[in-house]
Symmetry: C2
Subunit: 541 residues, 2 copies
């Protein structure tokens, strides 16, 4: 928990999360296990809501994205193709004296285990040179412990999508441009897990790989490639036939920010950070990190929080599928009839221009990934010839989000302390989580004013049973009504329904009313029971 | 895939699942990885629906169960307490000649790798004695590879629930009897994964641990313990205060069978198998396996399929929490004020009788788990004294289901070949998945009769957009309408909506009608567009 623990705001968050069942330390009764966190009853509901909204927004509400659910343990060959076996490493230094192992770039920050008054870089222990330590968790599949049987827990969900690209293409009615999306656990053996659940060793990702035509194909088909500026804030319903990678990338950045807004993170809490050329991976054409201003993130020179990454939206060129084609020997290209037809109608000069641009791009990829020059040139030429026949390897736009850090952002953003009068009208400080009703773990609490009045209890149970098939309802009959409201405020329940004596005795029964109480301002109004469900449904959508 | 592959019915299932995107082999382009399966677009939707229904039924629709989402990697101490480190093993034999490793109980079934005409038990290779091979996947957490840093991928989700029992109790408004439920991945390094997705190495579980009072507490409070026969098929709404473990066990068996019925598995496809005394784990008081008659399950002497396990409903006594109390040193007991009050009102003879029964039960547990006699007697006596003060460790009823085998059961059960007239009235064989609409991956397909008539397309898109916020809709404009119906039949879409020329030109527009076509019998009827949504919502719930 490191830094977060020293932040008074984060201390309150951590304490609330444990006390009210959002987040617990994994294996706490056994002293915990560093870098692993469990979600309690309310955390589990919050997380489910967020994942469900993502799945619904990214897949079910669209014609052009389908889902996938792949395994965590996959063939180790996948991680060779992706580069994770070779380069997903931290440089580590061993101390020959204390036998400790430390991240080479953190020696000045870590106290020496034997002499904690000194940092590791100042102590007397003799250190080895830095060595690469792979961050993937390793295991053995099958009964025999040999090198051949080593497998890894996936460090990201994305690669499964690339590995199953052809199966999805062949078994679903999809056509480029289209996407494959997945939600699932991933694992990284972080040397220094920190900031509560922000950087943990086991975490969950929501990733979309959106496959698009190369710009040369777009230009052949549409005669032009739309600029990013052109698309503005347009919706997917419009004509996207001239969209190249820049337009799609811009589109997805905007879509993702809208998603965060739709679940209660205002745009002012987010930062759209465009990676600088020197920060980009060699295959990436552009990457935008969507940051949230976490309370523990660094402050800039004006004292403003700079934010920490919630999601990266990367334009990854055709690197991923190309790598899997090379490593698996299985073709990853698609055949695009529209391109073939369009190409045959281009004049020769245009054909040559597009062909040459495609050749250069492929040559660059092949050279950068270590293919020897003569072979690279030959392959790039074949690829360019393929393009003229309607063949290409799709490019990828990847919006990749971390679920756990989003949950933490939602909780940090929702947390407020304000003043509200108690039942006697005296102002008191209350803690309230102002979750958007869409993500709130519990949508409505149903509260009989008194638990020892059977007519109130019976009516309250009827209201509970009326609402429950449609939303997550919490029934609570314990304690003073003001205390019960505060308990719900603290866990972010947007609505409370109180069944009191006014409810009873009114006639006809259908028009009986209850008190509907709003979390954020404590406002109360009387609503007829038969209007309650439609009103609440409207508010939680 | 072993046995399933030799079954012609299963061959069809496997082929359909791959062809239409339900299930793929994991890492297929790299030759696969034995015992791992991915869910394609339709499989992922089917699985999500099933998990969502389980979560909703088991948690959100109830007052007495809350959710949890714990990590896959937990403290290794948990698996010492649960017994998995010591006993979750298969006996394995090594062949000194071929260096193969085989399950000791399968030597007569596995061909010798060097001389496949002989089975391993007949070949000449010199074998070692059988040794215990632990089925948990091992990994190392943190940068240093030492024994201390070994951790396991959880072989079941249940233990996390026990480990977090106290946190949940302290942070949620729950009181015994109550349950904690979880859905998540689990891993078992099966020596012989088989029967397609039925027994794989990575799988998903849906587990409920339902915590109840010991029978002695029930008797003290209610004066009696209800027999299992007494509860019949009663609902949870009724008074459960006299329910001991037998009643609760019976109740959960019945609830779980009702769940399977509610998602389309008729009771006739299920078998309720009561484990025989000699099959029970030493701590279990009763276990009912709910079996599904898979096509690959064995046949009995009458030729009837005997079924394979979908779920086990076990009465686990207080074994689990007791083990974690002993291994963690943290108290797992609850204080029950109702019991304390009731106990003080019992006469001495009754107190002595209940106290003695509780003492005997605790002594049995302590002795069986290896506590030395003198210590066991002392502890059991203390436990009995605690009971009199309202203290006990809750007992557990555990309905534990496998998601993947349930998905396979649903597909096997849904698969039918029947005769249906084509568009010209000629009978043809069709493949249809008769999924219950609740679990069907796609609820409705929206089909414009012709794709080159803009007025049809526009109207069809409007219908799609009308339905989509409420259910998973598939829009398909490609090919003859009959072919499109067949494609939907084959993936189990219960409803098709066709926009044809009759739809257009009718006035007023609000009353325009579409063709609603039913999957199972091919029946078609005309429905007003404005009635479509409520009608479909009614049918898919």
């Amino acid at each position: 928990m490191a830094e977060a623990k020293e932040n008074p705001f984060m201390e309150k968050i951590v304490s609330l999360c444990k006390r009210r069942g959002f987040i617990y330390q994994s294996s706490e009764i056994y002293g915990g296990i560093n870098g692993f966190w469990d979600y309690g009853p309310l955390g589990a509901e919050l997380k489910r809501n967020v994942k469900e909204l993502w799945w619904n927004t990214m897949i079910r509400q669209r014609d052009d994205v389908v889902g996938l659910e792949a395994t965590i343990i996959m063939s180790p060959e996948i991680w060779k193709a992706s580069g994770h076996v070779a380069t997903f490493t931290d440089p580590m230094v061993d101390c020959k004296t204390c036998k400790g192992r430390f991240r080479a770039d953190q020696l000045a920050e870590i106290p020496c285990p034997q002499k904690p008054s000194k940092m590791v870089n100042e102590c007397h222990g003799e250190k080895t040179a830095a060595r690469a330590f792979n961050l993937m968790f390793k295991t053995i599949v099958g009964p025999v412990e040999t090198e051949d049987n080593i497998a890894y827990l996936r460090p990201e969900t994305a690669q499964a999508i690339f590995a199953q690209f052809k199966n999805v293409l062949d078994s679903s009615r999809v056509k480029v441009p289209f996407g494959i999306a997945q939600i699932g656990k991933a694992f990284r053996n972080e040397v220094t897990p920190r900031n509560y659940t922000f950087r943990s060793r086991e975490f969950e990702q929501m990733e979309l790989e959106f496959f698009i035509k190369p710009d040369e194909a777009i230009e052949a088909i549409s005669g032009r490639v739309a600029s990013a500026a052109e698309i503005g804030n347009q919706q997917s319903a419009i004509d996207t036939s001239s969209w190249g990678w820049e337009a799609w990338h811009k589109y997805w950045v905007e879509e993702r920010i809208k998603f965060y807004e739709s679940i209660g993170l205002p745009r002012t809490t987010l930062v759209e950070y465009w990676q600088k050329p020197e920060e980009l991976a060699h295959y990436a054409r552009a990457t935008v990190d969507i940051l949230f201003k976490f309370p523990f993130s660094k402050r800039d020179e004006h004292g403003e929080l700079t934010g920490e990454e919630l999601e990266g939206v990367a334009a990854r060129s055709d690197f991923d599928l190309s790598q899997h084609e090379r490593f698996s020997g299985k073709p990853m290209g698609v055949f695009d009839d529209e391109l073939r037809t369009a190409w045959s109608k281009l004049d020769e000069a245009k054909q040559a221009e597009l062909s040459n641009r495609y050749y250069e791009a492929r040559l660059k990829y092949l050279t950068k990934t270590g293919v020897e020059p003569a072979k690279a040139e030959k392959e790039a030429r074949e690829d360019a010839e393929g393009l003229a026949k309607g063949q290409y390897i799709p490019h990828v736009i990847e919006p990749s989000a971390g679920v756990d850090r989003l949950i933490l952002a939602l909780i940090c953003n929702a947390y407020h302390e304000d003043q509200m009068p108690d039942e006697k009208g005296k102002q008191e400080t209350r803690v309230v989580l102002r979750f958007h009703p869409r993500v709130a773990p519990i949508k409505v609490a149903v509260l009989p004013l008194l638990k020892n009045k059977p007519e109130l209890v019976k009516k309250a149970q009827a209201v509970r049973d009326l609402l429950r098939p449609h939303m997550n309802v919490f029934y609570d009959d314990g304690g003073a009504i003001g205390r019960r409201y505060r308990r719900q405020d603290e866990i972010g329940t947007p609505f409370c329904v109180t069944i009191d004596f006014d409810t009873l005795g009114e006639k006809p029964e259908l028009l009986d009313t209850v008190t509907l109480r709003y979390r954020d301002d404590g406002r109360q109004e009387r609503v007829a029971i038969c209007e309650l469900l439609p009103q609440l449904l409207e508010k939680i959508r």
